[in-house]
């Protein structure tokens, strides 16, 4: 192995520790169906489905789980004839 590359590398263990802490905190908190982000996701989708026919291809759901905050972004394309109300949930 090239000795210069060896010294150029910084420790990767702290990154591993941090990633695991965030991941496991979320996984432990979401035993069964008590994961808040997941509940919100499912209920938001249910509400949208109540008012219009959901074309799943036109709905994008993104999650990013962080240490302090998670974000849930729901992007829905609502066609003109889906109903009178036109809005964008995010």
């Amino acid at each position: 192995m090239n000795i210069f590359r060896f010294f150029a590398k910084s420790d990767s263990a702290p990154a591993a520790r941090e990633r695991l802490q965030v991941l496991l905190a979320h996984e432990r908190a979401s035993v069964g169906d008590s994961d808040l982000v997941k509940i919100l996701r499912d209920e938001i989708m249910a509400v949208i489905a109540k008012h219009m026919q959901i074309d799943s291809e036109k709905v994008s759901v993104k999650m990013e789980r962080g240490a302090q905050v998670s974000t849930l972004a729901v992007d829905v394309e609502i066609p003109f004839d889906a109903g009178k109300k036109k809005k964008k949930a995010a």
Partner: protein
Amino acid sequence: MGKVIVVTSGKGGVGKTTSTAALGAALAQGGAKVVVVDFDVGLRNLDLVMGAERRVVYDLVNVIQGDAKLTQALIRDKRLQTLYLLPASQTRDKDNLTAEGVEKVITALRKNFDWVICDSPAGIERGATLAMRHADVAIVVTNPEVSSVRDSDRIIGLLDSKTLKAERGEQMEKHLLLTRYDANRAERGDMLKVDDVLEILSIPLLGIIPESMDVLRASNVGAPVTLSDDRSPPALAYFDAARRLNGETIPVAVPGEKRGFFGKFFGRKAA
């Protein structure tokens, strides 16, 4: 139509997930459109190795059960535009994988990607047999160690009997990927030799991945090793393996083996 690869081994901990991520990224780095699929329902880890664990919204089981569309469940890699991940479910169990559901998903992926790489769970149960079911090509990941070689032999038997290809009477294309190869131990004679493993399993060699700290480091930071350090020995070995998958003929170098002038020309034939 893309090709479906299963990365399998029977034994756990030999490097299936690492190899799935590294080969998937290597193929995508070459410009191909690639999706890596985690079949380890209940014990997923491909998301972690790919560094996408915080972005999982839907998973394979959601798609099979109709809770989400395939396009919603696919996670695009942040570093490589043409690399996607379909995660496994962490909370449900393997019974949620149905043969029909898996077939539908694989058929759809095959239409949209050049390579569909299925990361099999360890064992020979439902998850493993479903992961290999629709494969065109199998990569058998093996460590140069007796229990791994034995389990690989068992898996090769299943590949030749339980897959769609086998049932149609066709020959399953199988490749051996020898991982965690330690040149020092091989030199001391404490490790099964490459030729021994090849003779016992008698399937063509796709590559030899040296045992390396770079693999651990890559998983620590959540990047396939071909992305985290593309000049490291394991990365170079994975790039070569990816080229062989693409049909190129490149001689396989045995890590640490000193080759003479003739050895370079009459090297081991690759898969």
